[in-house]
Symmetry: C2
Subunit: 467 residues, 2 copies
């Protein structure tokens, strides 16, 4: 493809994306396809000869019809994953430049722009200058990085000697039932045993109990384990519960535990001063993950330790400025990296902080409206404190309990999803199914929240009214 062809086809693709976004609200939110339906449309092998680009672009039509639409104003599933159009441009610039950040010298602007925008985000979140950040690919990878960092501090760099196996006392990790699944996965990948991933009891708001943590840590140490790390969550996935960082930090400090803060869900809300209470004590943590604005950032309060654990320096990657620059390959698992900072750079400048704050406040107010509506409706219940934009609810008609209630809940939620009217994520809370409504898509306005609430009432109450 020549640059001139790229120009022509590029315009066409930009048009297709603009049209897709402009018309997204008219689509069914959840993909209306069956397993293998897409696969069966596709050729079994790559073509021997070139195919016309317009044909490839036209195929986007059926690809789109096989997607659930995360940018839809009535997408209330999983978590808000806004792909703002300014970010799309930033990402296009990144891929178009085609550079790889192997080392500072291989792409100096990639490295330095990242240093700058990550520091912008540090300030936006109200973190002190003690924190250094780096863009990682996903929150799951960040969990692995945090737990390996914890492991290596606790074992005084066993990786440089006999490895984890040379350590006699089994390392233990502390989480709650509501800690994200990627944390346990990350611990197991890092070599911890599932038997030593300890579940700390939570209180009635689903937040970790620091007193219970202290007890378990003491008991484990007495039993010959080596307590290694604790993960607190600012905004759990199921209910947006807020673990008490300051109280946990006190336990961590007196037991030499690595303290990791998982703020993948609620991190972006920390740009609102009125939400900062949620991570009171965060400055005492060792590592912190937030996913504000479409990228996952890992903050460390000890960059020297991180780069010791992650460093690699074969001869072909050395340069004579290594002492004066940041080499991002030493800040995470991957060696190469795309120019990720461009997306953040575009989004923050095109939006400005005031607009970002405004949209978050809109979402929180929308969640507040839904909470009021649920409270006012007979047989409906809000199941957990609503600190931000996630509302956990259930329709509980009189006399319906246990598995019958589960069937009712999954039934109405799945019917709404299948209808295309909205996308909701059922989840298990205290052993029973409930429905999460995660508000925060860029296009989601009050009327969308009103509409999904109407759908919920209609579907649930038509199936089962209290006698």
């Amino acid at each position: 493809m020549t640059p001139e062809e790229f120009r022509r086809f590029g315009y066409e693709l930009i048009d297709r994306i603009a049209d897709y976004r402009a018309g997204i609200a008219n689509r069914a939110v959840m993909a209306q396809v069956a397993p293998d339906e897409i696969k069966n449309l596709l050729p079994q092998s790559a073509p021997e000869n070139p195919q016309p680009v317009p044909e490839i672009l036209r195929d986007l039509d059926w690809i789109i019809s096989g997607l659930s639409h995360w940018q839809h104003p009535r997408f209330f599933g999983y978590f808000p994953a806004n792909a703002l159009l300014a970010g799309v441009l930033g990402d296009l610039a990144s891929t178009g430049l085609g550079v790889v950040g192997l080392s500072w010298q291989s792409a100096p602007a990639l490295t330095e722009l990242e240093e700058v925008v990550v520091d912008w985000i540090r300030q936006m979140l109200g973190l002190s200058e003690a924190w250094s950040g780096v863009i990682q690919d996903t929150a799951s990878t960040n969990a692995v990085v945090a737990l390996i960092s914890a492991r290596e501090r606790a074992t005084r760099y066993s990786m440089w000697r006999g490895g984890l196996q040379a350590e006699a006392r089994p390392l233990a990790l502390y989480v709650t039932e509501h800690t994200h699944s990627s944390v346990t996965k990350g611990a197991l990948l890092a070599g911890f045993g599932r038997e030593h991933v300890r579940t700390v009891p939570h209180d009635g708001s689903y937040a970790m109990r620091a007193d219970a943590l202290a007890e378990i840590v003491n008991a484990d140490a007495a039993a010959g384990l080596k307590p290694c790390a604790v993960v607190v969550t600012t905004g759990t996935t199921a209910t947006m519960a807020i673990d008490p960082i300051r109280d946990v930090a006190a336990v961590a400090r007196s037991n030499a535990l690595w303290l990791h803060v998982d703020a993948a869900m609620a991190g972006s809300a920390m740009i609102l001063p009125e939400c900062r209470w949620m991570w009171d004590g965060v400055e005492e943590a060792d590592s912190l993950v937030g996913i504000p604005f479409d990228c996952s950032i890992y903050f460390t309060s000890d960059p020297e330790h991180l780069t010791k654990v992650m460093s690699t320096g074969p001869s072909y990657l050395r340069s004579n400025v290594d002492g004066a620059v940041k080499n991002l390959r030493n800040w995470g698992i991957p060696l190469g990296r795309r120019f990720r900072a461009l997306k953040v750079w575009f989004v923050l400048r095109e939006q400005g902080l005031a607009a970002l704050r405004g949209r978050l406040r809109r979402d929180i107010a929308n969640a507040g409206w839904l909470v009021e509506a649920v409270h006012a409706a007979p047989d409906w219940r809000v199941l957990a404190p609503v600190n931000l934009q996630t509302v956990c609810l259930r329709h509980e008609p009189l006399g319906l309990t246990g598995e019958a209630l589960d069937a009712h809940t999954l039934g109405w939620a799945n019917r709404i999803n299948a209808s295309g009217a909205g996308y909701l994520t059922p989840a298990v809370l205290d052993g029973r199914w409930m429905v999460r409504v995660a508000i925060g898509s860029e296009m989601t306005e009050r009327e969308d929240v009103e509409a999904i609430w109407l759908s919920m009432r209609r579907e649930a109450e038509a199936a089962h009214l209290s006698p």
Copy 2:
């Protein structure tokens, strides 16, 4: 940004990328900036109010001036990292759709298109149907995945019990001095100790000696270690050496070692039947990484094992089609993923196999031309067999040895890099610096190879001629 604004600014950005690519040959290849030069240009904090998008787009000018140009026809550094314009469009489509592949249901077409194109690549590489592939983010991540898979097979899933520490005999890994640095890094991250990453001697062509491997494995087992995995490389980074897979596989089989094939460098050449001898025996491997066409693919011959090690299934990610679909989150570390397959889909269709083969053959012929030229020039030497497109060479004037030779080599290579005439990567081979010329940028034609050769002769010979 509204879809209409996106259309306008998107056109402008497409133009900028087209112009950048069209004029790239006129730029200095290596970035001509000093450390902190870019950083010092930038505002210290994010803006409170929105900034005009045209201004953000204009800033790309100085960002580009702070980059080394990987797509430049005279980029001979590190490894070819082609970002074909068709792939840029595929990536733009991915980011523009803004979907996240958490589970099949969250983006069915994302999952199924990936299944199909990964199978296309399996066929292109001549791999049997026994292999299942998945797109991962980088080769380094793939190394971690492979080594954790090896660890868990050797310990019969210690992760589900007491973890790596519960295993008495230290796990050992076998590599050569020329195995990529990400493999040792990955092993250490996976909990192996550096003491147990064993360096197997290589032969005169820098390839692993299978007989030496057998000896070391036996000695280790006798000494109480548990030999766990061996990594063979198809195309080492420094010299493109080809480890003998079939011979190593025999040793691996009789010692129950996990056999991982790192074909990140030479994997794409396996679309040429005449190169397939390079991984004779590959079907006996357990895992395989290739980076053909701008994405890193992990192939496993035991997908059930991989998904056992990588699985995670909290309630909010379950759906009632889970038995019938592939959930990509169980095939690697990250939970979320972008629509990566679109890039591959665009590139393979827009190019067609014949064109991809043609370009590879052009690059191999260009390397052959350079080898002949070096052989014919007095005082110049090719230092390793040239199997593909990487030529390792040195200018060795009579009487210049040791550190003086190193200074000479680094001197002329760095002067060329600093001049902008080309980008070369010096590396250490057998304890002495040499220069790698990695040929294979999409735009690199014979005349570019002739030009860099001329530059090399001029710089090196002007500094030092044999007496």
